[in-house]
Amino acid sequence: MTPATDPPVTDPRLLLLNPADNCLVACRALPAGETLLIDGVPATLPRPVAMAHKLARRALAVGDKVLRHGAAIGSVQRPIARGEHIHTDNLASDYLPTYTLQDGSKYVLTSHD
């Protein structure tokens, strides 16, 4: 698990868990107003980000999926600026509110026949 340091440099205090991710995880608490490199371009944090919390790797629009470990962890509810804290006020689960046992639910069994 090494922070991505591919050509566009990202601050080592931020962890990219999967190249496909559009969020980064803070390795330590970061105060508002801090400026860090994200993919080689400086971003100033509009809000503080606590350790292990997420911030946006790029600007996100309502309805965008947030990807962590390369997998969707929910949908964006309000526009999120690059470098902004992503949490319960701007991201919601796709799973719990949408889950039903009716046809069309995500739990239809796949067949191996």
């Binding site: 698990m1 799973y95 719990l96 889950y99």
Partner: protein, 436 residues
């Protein structure tokens, strides 16, 4: 911890080259062929009305391996009956004292017969027959003193990795759990499984969103389908209850959604193929990776599937787990009766505050002081030491939490253990694992 790492590496190299392998672990042999890494006297109450007396017996042996377990309900329950039988014939248990009030429904004679048949000393005290609290207590203390002396004379014998069952559970998770402690346990699982051990992960309610990935890892397509059905059951169950597996502390720690928490929890399972799907009290028939289905079958009855982390740990021990790798970000302090708990702390700030309660500081990964592979190897080395008798942090502090409540399960389906299916007559677990 780096010295432990070196020791472990050396052992592995020796084992690989020598014809007479060095003992990986050291355990107490049992009549069923299994071996225990602890040799405890279990004192079991069979209804809440006998809890106090049983507890008082154990208080007379503070600091000694006398552990309290039990079932509080007066009404019969097949699940509790099976779990109690598995716990009291668990390889880490050397002797058993049963404490009954007398009018409860628990099948104490059947339980006593099972424990006796397993070759363990067992004694039953019925409070109503013995003449009340004081007389039962005195007799119980006298019996436990005798049992401890018996167990004290038993030596440890060499034990192989393929005789070991290791479980994992997470509790008090935060945003660090899924990037440090959980994947480090996943690495440790991969190493342990490669050496022949059986490893168990669980809590299908915390694997919501990972079911199709697990399906692809299953040993057979039929097992994969069973896993998908089992996660669907968990989601349905939690939906009926109106709560997912998400506590307020999870959000404080940086987790936003159930699927985000699930992805982090899933990392504990490592990368090995999934060999089987089991339910509480089912013992893995061979080495490999097993998923434990902890969510009851049928209509929602008896409330939440697992009311706290120790309920899950008890079920893992009922599946034969010799020890549990417990990952925590916010900082849980629990241990367990019967089987040691190794606490792997995901969050470096939490570790700094609660170091006395922790065994492994996986948070070093976030500070750039260790890699996932290094922490994974440190966990394996510690498992080996604990398997030779070293106390974990929670053992040293005296933690012996235990909880068992009502549940209902159907037996596992025919596709859940493909390896057992391939074996015509199912031998004892240990002899199944003897062949490489």
């Amino acid at each position: 911890m780096s010295s432990l790492h070196t020791t472990e590496r050396t052992t592995e190299r020796t084992t690989g080259q020598a014809t007479q392998p060095m003992p990986a672990l050291a355990g107490f042999p049992r009549a069923d062929g299994r071996k225990g890494i602890r040799n405890v006297v279990a004192v079991a109450y069979l209804v809440e009305c006998a809890h106090f007396v049983a507890h008082e017996v154990t208080l007379a042996f503070r600091g000694e391996p006398v552990h309290l377990v039990g079932f509080p309900g007066c009404y019969p329950n097949a699940y509790a009956d099976k779990v109690m039988r598995r716990l009291l014939t668990h390889p880490n248990v050397g002797a058993v004292l049963l404490v009954s009030l007398g009018c409860e429904s628990f099948d104490k004679r059947g339980l006593e017969a099972d424990v006796a048949a397993s070759g363990r000393p067992v004694h039953t005290l019925t409070i109503q027959e013995r003449g009340g609290t004081r007389k039962t207590l005195n007799e119980g203390i006298e019996w436990v003193r005798w049992a401890l002396a018996e167990l004290d004379a038993q030596p440890r014998v060499p034990m192989r990795w393929d005789e070991l069952v290791v479980a994992t559970v997470c509790g008090g998770s935060d945003g660090t759990s899924g990037i440090t402690a959980n994947p480090a346990v996943g690495r440790a699982f991969d190493t342990l499984i490669a050496r022949g051990a059986a490893c168990i992960f669980e809590e299908t309610g915390e694997l919501v969103g990972c079911e199709f990935h697990m399906q692809r890892r299953a040993a057979t397509p039929e097992l994969g389908d069973e896993i998908v059905r089992c996660v669907a059951k968990a989601a349905r169950y939690y939906e009926t209850l109106g709560h997912g597996s998400f506590a307020p502390g999870n959000a404080d720690g940086g987790l936003t959604t159930q699927e985000e928490k699930s992805l982090g929890a899933y990392a504990k399972s490592g990368d090995s193929p999934i060999s089987g799907l089991i339910k509480p009290g089912d013992i893995p028939p061979t080495g490999g990776l097993y998923l434990l289905d902890v969510v009851p079958d049928g209509e929602v009855r008896f409330g939440f599937p697992n009311i706290s982390d120790n309920a899950e740990i008890v079920e893992l021990i009922a599946c034969g787990a010799h020890l549990t790798l417990f990952t925590t970000g916010r900082g849980s302090v629990v241990g367990s009766a019967i089987s040691p708990v190794i606490k792997v702390c995901a969050n470096p700030d939490t570790y700094d505050r609660l170091a006395d309660d922790m065994d492994v500081n996986a948070g070093r990964i976030l500070r750039g002081d260790a890699t996932l592979d290094e922490v994974g190897a440190e966990i394996v080395a510690l498992v080996q030491d604990v398997g030779h008798g070293r106390e974990t942090a929670s053992e040293a502090l005296g933690h012996r939490e235990f909880i068992l409540t009502y549940k209902a399960f159907e037996p596992i389906g025919p596709s859940c253990l493909p390896v057992r299916q391939a074996t015509p007559a199912m031998p004892l677990p240990s002899s199944t694992r003897a062949t490489p």
